[in-house]
């Protein structure tokens, strides 16, 4: 008897749980962004569209895109956020074009052809340095300084095959310093399988130098870790828009579009800047008024052709993988 009652109670709690969720509009976000950024979006959405319940599945951007591809016959996700042009380009057929009303505030040159994807924020590549781990080495001010063999094993970067951060940096460097120098630099690099391990590796002192996005390194500066510094290379750095997309056949329907608009709204972008230091793609938010990051105009940027980077992705990765890295035997 007792067992039967318990079983009934368990069944009841299971069904109650699911029906309570069914009344809300469920939107599932596949995101490669850290928890803080996802939470900023979720709490901003809660105010703008309280009927939407935002769930998230997290992982590396490449991994999530391939998962969306695999689920195409039984779509599970509504939104994808985020990855760069060079990574999302290969997955165009999984998404549907959507011109959000918020698009008006986003500069033309950042947008994706046909609005298949929409830029949610802009990333700046920086060199992260842990001054306690430098030893006798001076902090690097330029990319070319990192070519010196004395940096061997001290510099960490995310695997470009699984992380758009890693790909953006290596592709940019290949254009800026050329293949031979990139080969020399690669010989010093330790490759990490996830991009979040780059900044935590530098912050914990596992590595002296890490290559990654400003937005992912700045939380340590903001948190008050004195030995952790961000360097904007003097020979120029790379910027890349971080795109979000509406999944084709998204089960959330109209709610998915509403959540997408919410993601692009001024409120969400401001709160993203405040809590997770992502520079907005919108032109109506003044960065330095909200956080202590330099204005875009103060940073020397080396322009890259995002379309070329996307088209030559496979070929470039193949060549780059043939270079020896610091960890390789």
């Amino acid at each position: 008897m007792v067992i039967r009652n318990l079983a009934a109670a368990a069944l009841l709690s299971l069904t109650l749980g699911t029906t309570a969720w069914a009344q809300e509009k469920k939107v599932t976000l596949y995101s490669s962004n850290p928890e803080q950024a996802i939470e900023a979006v979720a709490s901003s959405l809660k105010k703008k569209a309280p009927e939407i319940r935002l769930n998230s599945v997290t992982g590396g951007s490449g991994v999530l895109l391939r998962r969306l591809e695999a689920e195409a016959s039984n779509v599970q996700g509504d939104l994808f956020w985020s990855s760069s042009f060079n990574t999302v380009g290969a997955f165009e057929k999984l998404f549907e074009a959507y011109a959000s009303p918020e698009l008006a505030a986003i500069p033309e040159k950042l947008r994706y052809p046909g609005n298949l994807f929409t830029p949610a924020n802009v990333h700046v590549v920086v060199i992260m340095v842990n001054t306690n781990q430098l030893g006798n080495l001076p902090a690097p001010k330029t990319w070319t300084e990192l070519l010196d063999p004395k940096w061997k094993g001290k510099v960490v970067i995310a695997d470009p095959a699984n992380s758009s951060t890693g790909y953006t940096i290596l592709w940019g460097l290949h254009k800026m310093i050329g293949d031979e120098k990139l080969r020399q630099l690669t010989a010093n690099l330790t490759v990490s399988s996830s991009s979040s391990a780059v900044q935590s590796g530098v912050a914990m002192g596992e590595y002296a130098v890490g290559l990654g996005f400003e937005a992912n390194g700045y939380p340590y500066v903001d948190g008050g870790q004195k030995e952790f510094n961000l360097i904007y290379p003097e020979d120029g750095t790379f910027i890349t828009a971080d795109f979000a997309g509406l999944v084709k056949g998204a089960p959330g329907g109209a709610a998915a579009k509403a959540a997408f608009d919410g993601l692009m709204s001024k409120e969400t972008q401001t709160s993203l800047l405040e809590t997770s230091f992502r520079r907005p793609s919108r032109s109506d938010i003044e960065v330095s008024k909200i956080v202590k990051l330099p204005e875009m105009s103060a940073i020397k940027v080396f322009d890259i052709d995002e379309k070329e980077a996307a088209d030559q992705r496979d070929a470039f990765l193949k060549t780059w993988r043939s270079y020896p890295t610091a960890g390789a035997k």
């Binding site: 067992i3 689920e71 781990q133 596992e206 939380p219």
Partner: protein, 547 residues
């Protein structure tokens, strides 16, 4: 022979129903994995595996790692078990905590805390660097071997301590009276008898290293390992074209099957039966030997407890983003677990609760059929229900994704697949302890009830079940604790909004939010520990006896 009275009784039909359930959720996923690896001819998983040097070195690395960790676990676990079973020394009581620690500390957190001590910037690494000694990088072999050894040696310890306590000292005394020296007689007589237990637990460690997910993910970095390759293939392929994940999963299944086969073969070669022996009484030790053994033993235990201390402190430490402000205390992290984002806690309770309940009912019934109501089907029930022991969580997760992604029973994205993952993975725990007690319940009691006019099913519920009570309770606790801490299968089948506590901890560590991760981790430990304490202290259930 099946007679018409067999057909009238419920047992045959129940056996058949149980067989269908087991075939659907254990055999069918396994067959799907095997077949998926062969699809595509020249482009099949096996062709691709042979062409990929990383895949092959992943397999080789895994074999080497598992062998080294297993040896290290035996070297720590067996001596520790021996001194605990045979001697009394200061600090011995702390060793009693060991079995608990294994169940309680999530592997994710173990790996993270070890990094804090021995990583490039770890406390110990820095200490040695100050004296000019450069420790090897903790990522790769050094870290994997260290962390896995300290996580898994307890299994060898638990297995061996039971065998040594059950060893009959008369045998040793007999050997000595025949003129053999004490040390030699102990070695000659005791070793063959405790060997099967040591071996069984060592092979258990071997299989757990092969299937290990959390520690491998965090510490392997660029070193290829089978479990990491399997997981990455699974996440990127999903359920539609599961070629590489199936191939890697098959390799892991074959590896574990071989190990289990070797185990069986070794045990069958030499079998010793002890007829109700007199266990040795622990001898008190004094002087420097007592101090040395006590110190060494408690050091091992204290090291195993370090992760626990780090979580407890981290859960109440102020943080700003990823930066921990040690020494400043707050309740904000805990508030998050219970108030701001309680979904993982709720999910864990519901999923593990449902898995435990269903698992225990199912295993009680099926064990009853296997032991007391034998028919042509029941041996198969026995075999199939023990298959999950040979499957790593990752392999099981892949099997469920491959089988229930679409098709006749689409379960992807539902709560059912979460419960199913936990249920199948932990089913053998319930089965083993139910079967063990059923052997001890005499048939005559049941026959008496039936001859007094009670129908068979009612006899089972009213007479047999109550007698199985204590065993069921301890199996329930074991199933509960291991379901709550399950990560490797559930992380593959979860969907948005269905995160459990362990998945949340894994994700937060991935986002470098250690304070939040610690808070969820601490609650996870509480969820595991509270039922154990309640059961052992209030209901006097012997949780570890049936393991």
């Amino acid at each position: 022979m099946i007679t018409s009275s067999d057909l009238r009784a419920p047992w045959l039909w129940l056996s058949l129903a149980a067989l269908v359930v087991l075939l659907t959720f254990i055999v069918y996923p396994l067959v799907n994995i095997l077949t998926a690896s062969f699809v595509g001819g020249a482009e099949s998983g096996w062709a691709r595996l042979l062409a990929d040097p990383r895949g092959l070195s992943a397999i080789l690395n895994t074999l080497i790692l598992a062998s080294v960790v297993t040896c290290a676990c035996v070297l720590i676990g067996v001596p520790l078990a021996y001194v605990t079973a045979r001697y009394r020394f200061p600090g011995k009581s702390i060793i009693a905590l060991l079995p608990l620690i294994t169940l309680v500390i999530p592997e994710v957190i173990s790996a993270q805390t070890w990094l804090m001590a021995l990583g490039n910037n770890g406390l110990i690494t820095r200490f040695f660097r100050d004296y000019g000694v450069q420790l090897p990088s903790f990522y790769g072999w050094f870290g994997l071997i260290t962390v896995m050894t300290f996580v898994y040696y307890t299994y060898v310890y638990i297995g061996t301590v039971a065998a040594i306590s059950g060893f009959d000292v008369h045998l040793e005394e007999a050997a000595q009276s025949l003129g053999t020296s004490p040390a030699r007689s102990r070695l000659k007589v005791m070793l063959p008898i405790i060997m099967p237990s040591v071996l069984a637990s060592a092979l258990l460690v071997f299989t757990m290293v092969v299937g290990n997910f959390a520690i491998s993910m965090i510490l392997s970095n660029q070193m290829p390992l089978l479990s990491v390759a399997t997981y990455q293939a699974a996440v990127s392929e999903g359920g539609a074209a599961p070629v590489m994940q199936s191939t890697f999963a098959t390799v892991s299944v074959v590896m574990v099957m071989l190990i289990l086969f070797i185990n069986r073969w070794i045990i069958s070669r030499g079998r010793f039966e002890i007829a109700q022996g007199r266990g040795a009484k622990p001898v008190p030790l004094a002087g420097w030997r007592a101090a040395a053994i006590g110190l060494a033993a408690s050091l091992i235990v204290v090291i195993s407890l370090v992760p626990l201390a780090v979580i407890a402190i981290g859960a109440f430490t102020v943080s700003r983003g990823p930066v921990m402000q040690w020494g400043n205390w707050t309740l904000a992290n805990m508030e998050r677990v219970f108030v701001t984002a309680p979904q993982p806690l709720v999910n864990s309770l519901i999923y593990a609760g449902a898995a435990t309940l269903i698992g225990i009912c199912f295993s009680a019934l099926v064990s009853y059929l296997i032991i007391k109501k034998r028919n042509a089907i029941t041996p198969w029930l026995d075999y199939i229900s023990s298959i999950p022991l040979a499957l790593s969580g990752t392999v099981l997760g892949i099997g469920l994704i491959v089988s229930f992604n679409a098709g006749w029973l689409p379960l992807t994205g539902t709560a059912t697949i979460m419960v199913l993952a936990l249920l199948v993975r932990r089913l053998p725990f319930g089965m083993r302890s139910s079967q063990a007690t059923l052997h001890n319940i005499p048939n005559s009691i049941e026959e008496a009830s039936i001859s007094l006019g009670s129908p068979p099913l009612r006899t089972f519920v009213k007479v047999v079940l109550p007698m199985m009570g204590p065993a069921i309770a301890s199996a329930a606790i074991l199933t509960w604790t291991t379901s709550v801490s399950e990560l490797s299968a559930s992380i593959l089948v979860y969907s948005g909004g269905r995160e459990t506590l362990t998945i949340q901890v894994f994700r937060l560590i991935g986002s470098n939010l250690m304070a939040y991760a610690s808070a969820y981790g601490l609650v996870l430990i509480a969820v595991i520990l509270i039922p154990i304490i309640v059961a052992t202290k209030i209901f006097k259930v012997d949780v570890f006896a049936s393991k």
